[in-house]
Symmetry: C2
Subunit: 355 residues, 2 copies
């Protein structure tokens, strides 16, 4: 039997466990060229909340009665495909909030195992999270050395990688994050030039102090008043990569654009929304660069693993409260014992890998 979370009704505000229902269903026998996988890790991302809503979005909303959509790292248990053998570790874009997934083999991507990097990285720094940061910064923001970048949710899974890549590219980087611990981490360990604790500081005042010459690039994950504070300080020819608007995801209400939209014209700004799905063709190059930066100690990250399929709905809300420390991942089952990912990380600055 396969336990799974199905969407019962669309959440109003924060996700409640009662918005989803845990059901058990039998696993159907495989058709030709299919695989049955056990899902080991499930990625939790702010965009999952959008999928639960009926708002106009970039994928069809998850239907009522359907298994909740989610990206998983999974191990093949059974296969009628010549491409996969039992024991293979794969990434599944739509593994879902369930313990087992059976689907066409074409939906799975073999994960390249890398020494000394934990398997969870396939959902974080070496997964769509890292690809989002890489392409959003390099392809959308298009940084030039010496420019100033402000990244909101700067200690988040995406934002922390964005800031570090920007540092590698010679930029000045200011992160906006919630709380002193996160602010300390991005400055002391990740090398950001400054951090703004939006929970205790007026973001606009802090930006005036930390970015006296304005902001050239905004990697925006939050939206709302934080975005507006950055926007109103954007320089001539500034670029905003709109990656997320987490401040609005718990509501169905439309979220307003910048209050002084005329600045787009006067400062010749470019605002570009993007979704990582548009950049899958860049994945090979991105992962090679990201892995190299990890190897050279220039790129650190944290995975925050919670345990058990049953906690998934509740854990989702940590993304919105900020009550998590790194990429949020649910572990659904034990890792297979032969995974090279399980090798201990080398001694280093001490902040790499799981907290």
């Amino acid at each position: 039997m396969n336990p799974s979370w199905v969407l019962k009704h669309r959440p109003d505000g924060e996700v409640q466990s009662t918005d989803l229902e845990m059901v058990e269903s039998p696993i159907a026998p495989l058709a030709d060229d299919q695989i049955l996988m056990k899902n080991i890790y499930l990625s939790l991302d702010p965009t999952n909340r959008v999928w639960m809503s009926s708002r106009d979005q970039y994928l069809p909303p998850v239907g009522i009665g359907e298994v909740m959509r989610g990206v998983t790292v999974s191990v093949v248990e059974d296969s009628t495909s010549s491409r996969f053998q039992p024991g293979d570790t794969v990434l599944l874009g739509q593994g879902g909030w369930q313990l087992y997934t059976a689907c066409d083999a074409s939906k799975a991507t073999r994960i390249r195992r890398r020494d000394n990097i934990p398997l969870t990285a396939a959902l974080s720094v070496l997964g769509t999270t890292g690809l989002t940061a890489y392409c959003g910064l390099l392809d959308v923001c298009r940084p030039n050395s010496g420019e100033t970048l402000v990244v909101s949710a700067g200690a988040g899974a995406v934002g922390s990688i964005v800031g570090q890549i920007a540092k590698i590219k010679g930029c000045r980087v200011i992160g906006i994050a919630g709380g002193p611990d996160k602010c300390r981490w991005i400055v002391d360990d990740l090398g950001f030039d400054g951090a703004i604790d939006y929970k205790s500081t007026d973001v606009g005042d802090a930006l005036d102090r930390l970015c006296p010459d304005g902001v050239d690039m905004n990697f925006e994950n939050v939206g709302g008043s934080i975005m507006d504070a950055v926007f109103s300080r954007m320089n001539l020819n500034g670029r905003m990569a709109l990656c997320g608007m987490i401040s609005s995801y718990n509501s169905e209400d439309p979220v307003a654009g910048p209050a002084d939209f005329g600045r787009v014209l006067m400062k010749r700004l470019t605002i570009q929304g993007f979704v990582v799905l548009d950049y899958l063709s860049r994945a090979r190059e991105a992962y090679a660069d990201l892995a190299a930066w990890i190897g050279s100690g220039q790129l650190l990250w944290k995975d925050h693993v919670v345990h058990g399929l049953d906690v998934a709905p509740e854990a989702m809300n940590r993304l919105f409260s900020g009550n998590h420390d790194g990429k949020l991942i649910v572990q659904l089952a034990d890792e297979p014992s032969d995974a090279t990912f399980l090798q201990p990380l080398p001694a280093g600055p001490g902040k790499r890998g799981q907290p």
Copy 2:
């Protein structure tokens, strides 16, 4: 003596003649490498209203007590420069609202005379107006054949050229304009696929009818609710070239962005503000293309000429009421009799040139 309009105080709302003062001042003798010009035509553009305000903008505001800034077509009367002779016709980016301008020769650009094209075209289709349309469409909107473009102020000096170039590039073009005559002109004479009279029609309803498959590109001249109606119908990977926000220029209040800004993310839209000054390096190619399209009858335009420096402040308001028909130009003095521009236009569709 040189009559000129100087800015007396910043307008509140529409420009009043009392916001400027007509003064007469003596013309100083030329220094080395300078020219004295008589200004024949003065361009009136919505952006002039922005220059009169103190809002944060792309050029310094015109100072109180300074001659109002304006682009002119001028004839050299006296020269201490080896580059210009009396009688030369030049374009002057900052000729100003005055009859005579004396300045460094480096500020003037010789106008290339083209057979059968009136001199006023140097301020419209073959001037910054045409360059704005050309670069805003081709470089910012980046049209693909078969895509749908909506252009606001579609019968305006810029918008009417934008739509015609888009047609040349194989796009479907819908123009938003004020009143039946303008709507008829852009469809019947310019070949737009449809027109929306915003004065008598709900723009959103009309867009639903005329663009059932949504909008790929928005060339935006107006802002406000008209922009919002187009924005909320933008397709995946849509582009908005923000050229102007004329609906807000008579106010100092900030003007809000799109009401559903989340669409930028969900549809991966790109919004780019631009100012023609950034594209001067494209002028040679643009004018060659524009002149060729004029020659082949594919590009029509209208210049609306009013007469006398004294009417300039009042004429400005026509830009905001829509009470003009084509590029608004003030004639300050007679054209020199030897200008080849004065040759009559060839018989054609009958809508080319001055009305």
